[in-house]
Amino acid sequence: MSLVVESIAKRFDRFPALKGVSFSAPKGCFLALLGPSGSGKTTLLRILGGLEFAEAGRVKFEDIDWLSLPARDRRAGFVFQQYALFRHMTIAKNIAFGLEVRGRRHRPTRAEIARRVEELLSLVQLEGLGKRYPSQLSGGQRQRVALARALAIEPRMLLLDEPFGALDAKVRKELRHWLRHIHDKTGITTVFVTHDQEEAMELADLVAILNQGSIEQIGTPADIRRAPASEFVADFIDSNAQVRPDPVVAIFEPRSARG
């Protein structure tokens, strides 16, 4: 097991966001943190990324005491729901950022950086857009830039916070498959936060279902579907699994049945 999370706890003011969360995941795994809003999934992700601090608990990743590393030394590529692209930089500069801010001894040459940027642009299928600014791209394109930027630092771990939350359904579906494809290609351990059970079940190797700061169940999508550990899990994976009845149809159907 490469990622081992042990009884992580965190409070905001007095409200407990995480109540001792523990789980483990193998190297190169695609893990989805699934839960309703306020379940603590984003807090857990931000703790893994070093953007939030746990009050108790430990995280081991590839035998490193992960939480003792400051955020900037973790090399955890973080992708935000609202993209968080540097708005005053071109796409190419955005992607190059993580390489350019390295200390002189670790920084690749300018030509090497340019080559990496081109490579990443083609990986995220945005060739030729390097000179544009983020505000000139669509939401889906921006999120792909954000992923390219995170991949540029050759991250040890990829952390995605509802990356497709701000996109429309069609783009979501496309990017979903594409993300899985990139994960399979790079083999980076990936933690993915979502409240969309369909997204989680379709994408992930492992799904952890969180509720009110605790993990209700963790397992493969098939396991969870076959044997939900609690009523909450059964309810949560079921509630938006079936296609919701169209409200308009729901209103008109009884009448037509009567007639």
């Binding site: 990324g49 955890a76 540097f86 708005r87 930089m89 993580g98 505000s135 930027r149």
Partner: protein, 291 residues
């Protein structure tokens, strides 16, 4: 009836938010009158009075030693006060907009204080602290340090009065931009300083520039607070606004207005530079604001 309507309909139908044409004309005329009377006319008067006896007379009163010394002092005072206020304003807005801490709203109120305190009072405060009879008066006299009636006092008073300009420009913008980009920079391995220099600062550079321009215009034009701490020593501690007052009180109107027109010119240049930058970099500014 309907024919009547179509007859009158030769003029374009009025939109829902349009006013009656007459009301519109009156309002525009009122607005124009106000602008001419209270903004344009005074400005024109300053220049007209200055040039009443010709350009040469005006120039003479500007290059005269006392006037030159006042101009020099004003530039030095602003040259010290503005960069310091940029540093303080930038750090204060950075702390307020990117971090959560106790006493944050108190700090915001404190930054606004110079706007609500009369400049004369802010000048008097420094006299009470650093003046001969003030708290540190005896100590300063013993060590032969002059603050009141000297450059340090003038710089302190100017800084106090112009403190909010930079911070007030930056805080709303930086708060609006949030912390996401800084967090992204950190996760990509940037140090705190690199994050600030490469992400935070470029995102606010236009607001910062605007704040600096305003701060500078006010620093050079400040009268009240500086008047209290300066001591009005001609050729030594008189800044431009103080020099203008002295000349005016001596009935040297042409000279007074000649120096005054320099200050007015500064204001116009400030506005022109700001408008030019906004026009020239419109695309870039728009890209920073919308996201």
């Amino acid at each position: 009836m309907s024919t009547n309507l179509t007859d009158r309909g030769s003029t374009r139908p009025r939109g829902a938010t349009d006013d009656h044409p007459l009301a519109r004309t009156i309002l525009i005329a009122l607005g124009a009158c106000f602008i001419v009377l209270f903004l344009v006319l005074p400005l024109v008067t300053v220049f007209a009075q200055a040039l009443k006896n010709g350009v040469a007379a005006a120039m003479d009163s500007i290059v005269e030693p006392d006037a030159l010394s006042a101009i020099k002092l004003t530039v030095i005072a602003a040259g010290i006060a503005v960069p310091l206020n940029v540093a303080f304003g930038l750090s204060a807005s950075w702390a307020i907009s990117k971090f959560d801490f106790r006493g944050k709203s108190f700090l915001i109120t404190l930054i606004d204080l110079p706007f609500s305190v009369s400049p004369v009072v802010s000048g008097l405060v420094y006299v009470l602290i650093f003046g001969m009879q003030g708290w540190f008066g005896p100590y300063l006299r013993e060590h032969d340090i002059k603050i009141i009636f000297a450059l340090p006092g003038i710089v302190l008073a100017t800084m106090f009065v112009t403190f909010p300009f930079v911070a007030r420009e930056l805080i709303p913008l930086m708060t609006d931009q949030g912390r996401d980009e800084e967090e992204a920079a950190t996760s990509l391995g940037a140090s705190g300083w690199k994050t600030f220099r490469r992400v935070t600062l470029p995102n606010v550079k236009w607001a910062l520039l605007y704040g600096v321009l305003l701060c500078n215009a006010r620093a050079m034009g400040e009268f009240g607070a500086v008047s209290v701490v300066s001591g009005h020593i001609r050729g030594q501690t008189n800044t431009m606004p103080l020099h203008i007052e002295v000349l005016y009180n001596d009935y040297q109107f042409v000279a007074a207005f000649a120096v005054a027109s320099l200050l007015a010119l500064l204001a116009l240049v400030t506005l022109a530079v700001k408008s030019f930058l906004e026009w020239h970099y419109a695309d870039e500014i728009a890209a920073i604001h919308k996201h």
